[in-house]
């Protein structure tokens, strides 16, 4: 049985577990909408002709949804799975570790796809957001979600080696995610941030994901307001691919099955 097939079976099982934890499902899927509502209600001004803050903000919300449902979720729940003995049991079977990773990726990808659909539907209904205007942009949205899910998943798995136990994991992971969100232009207009912040954020994939999402949701005329005056789609693709590969290698190298 191939690694991929077993991985998809794991994905099916993990999806069932995900959807059966009601509170967590509601929170994960509706939190971005809540934030969108709050920020959209506070900042009613336009940041450029025809570009409301909400229109700018949805890009950040989708990108940070990727970080939350992948990196943050996994870096917290995998140490818990170690505590519960889930991983010890899996280690004792012929399941390839990569199949376990694929199972996680399935959940992240499904969860983010639902979040994006909800955000876009909600945004269109209540904040009159514009949907992507060309098939090019829709295609970009798809590969951004896919690559973003992979990066977020593998980096979450890699980071899960850091917390000593499930109980302390959230305290270690959450601050990192929040700081990264501020630095990457999720909550504010990126180019308004101090340049050292911008440069620091450029080291991590979230900044590039957010920028990519802006290129999907904002008019092309807005590109001149980006740091380099263009959307840098090609560069974003390369950087995210590099993070996906590096993250996968890192995840395989650092993955721990048990709390020593």
């Amino acid at each position: 049985m191939s690694t991929l097939v077993i991985g998809l079976h794991r994905g099916k099982l993990e999806l069932k577990q995900f959807f059966r934890q009601r509170e967590s499902v509601v929170f994960t899927l509706f939190f971005p909408i809540m934030l969108m509502f709050i920020f959209g209600s506070i900042f009613k001004n336009s940041i450029a002709p025809g570009v409301t803050f909400s229109q700018y903000f949805i890009a950040g919300m989708i990108a940070s949804g990727l970080v939350n449902s992948g990196f943050q979720q996994l870096a917290i729940t995998i140490p818990m799975e170690r505590d519960f003995g889930t991983l010890k049991r899996l280690r004792g079977t012929p399941m390839p570790p990569l199949s376990y990773f694929i199972g996680k990726l399935v959940v992240v990808a499904v969860s983010i796809t639902i979040q994006v659909a909800l955000l876009m539907g909600f945004g269109k209904l209540f904040f009159h957001l514009h949907m992507p205007t060309s098939s090019d942009k829709w295609l970009r949205l798809v590969w951004l979600i896919l690559l973003g899910s992979i990066c977020s998943t593998v980096l979450g798995i890699a980071f899960s080696a850091v917390p000593k136990s499930g109980r302390g994991a959230s305290a270690v992971v959450s601050p990192i995610v929040i700081i990264l969100q501020f630095f990457s232009g999720v909550f504010f207009v990126f180019t308004d941030l101090p340049s050292w912040m911008q440069q620091f954020a450029a080291l991590f994939p979230l900044k590039w994901l957010t920028q990519g999402m802006r290129s999907v949701f904002l008019p092309d005329t807005f590109a001149v307001k980006e740091a380099t005056g263009t959307w840098e789609s090609g560069r974003i693709l390369i950087i995210l691919l590099a993070w996906a590969v590096a993250g996968t290698v890192l995840a395989i190298k650092t993955f721990r099955w048990s709390n020593k």
Binding site: Q17, G85, G92
Partner: protein
């Protein structure tokens, strides 16, 4: 018969503490082998080395001819492990979990059959977090045997079972032996070892004190018996290495039945306690 598990000179220390001080052991294929020992004797460490969870410090270990410390997924495909305390998968049903694990193995048994075999058919559609402790252990066993393992490791499988559940569980283990599975179990319960095991090893302070059939451990079969009886003057007893001979003589003093006659050999528990009391 060939050796399913072969251990020679295995040692393991944590920090300064030496947990295993040179273990030598051969377990034959098709055998049910029990490791007995008090808490902290090193049972779990030894079993986890065999399962590939822990690395030994020195010595040679092979399980199915392969060193578990460098074992591949192909090797894992041939063994089954029943964990001592896992509490995962609460939101899934019994069938969902067992079916999922079946996908990991190349020679998996039909999930419904395994669920039936461990006596969980009534609970097949129930969520794992609604199972009782004993039912959870049955699920653990189902996950251990789903891949038709050649060797099954059971670490204290019946801890927390009521007597009836333990008897049923023993039946399940005997059934697996009939399929040819080699079974290695650790246990605190001497009646369990006596009931199930072909041979037992007593592990005390990281050393194997003895390996024997349960009926022969500690010279149990050749040890004297204690004969007790009563007559008009009260209760009497006699320790004898030749109880039959003694009884023959005793019987001539009575016209019919000897009142309150009992002949007792030392139980496995008596022998075991004697063996572990000698430790420092």
């Amino acid at each position: 018969m060939s050796a399913a598990i072969s251990i020679s000179g295995a040692t393991k220390s944590y920090d300064e503490k030496c947990v295993l001080q040179g273990i030598d052991l051969e377990i034959q294929s098709g055998e049910i082998f029990a490791i007995l020992g008090p808490n902290g004797a090193g049972k779990t460490t030894l079993v986890e080395i065999l399962e590939g969870y822990r690395e030994r410090d020195s010595g040679q270990v092979t399980v199915l001819g392969i060193d578990p410390s460098s074992a591949s997924l192909e090797w894992r495909n041939r063994i089954g492990i029943v964990l001592q305390n896992a509490s995962d998968a609460g939101d899934l049903t019994v069938t969902e979990v067992v079916e999922n694990f079946a996908h990991y193995y190349t020679n998996a048994k039909p999930p419904a059959k395994v669920i039936d075999q461990v006596g969980l058919s009534d609970k097949a559609g129930s969520k794992v977090n609604t199972l009782s402790g004993g039912q959870r252990r049955r699920l653990d066993v189902a996950l251990g045997i789903i891949g038709s393992p050649e060797i099954l490791f059971l670490d204290e499988p019946t801890t927390g079972f009521d007597p009836e559940a333990r008897r049923e569980f023993w039946g399940l283990i005997r059934g697996l032996r009939e399929e040819g599975t080699t079974i290695l179990l650790t246990t605190h319960y001497l009646d369990e070892a006596e009931e199930l095991a072909d041979r037992v090893a007593v592990l005390v302070d990281g050393r194997i004190k003895e390996v024997a059939r349960p009926s022969e451990l500690g010279g149990r079969n050749s040890k004297g018996a204690r004969i007790t009886w009563s007559d008009g003057s009260g209760d009497h007893f006699e320790e004898s290495a030749t109880p039959t001979e003694f009884l023959r003589k005793l019987s001539v003093q009575f016209e019919g039945e000897i009142p309150n006659l009992q002949i007792k050999r030392p139980t496995l528990e008596d022998i075991y306690l004697e063996m572990i009391e000698g430790r420092a």
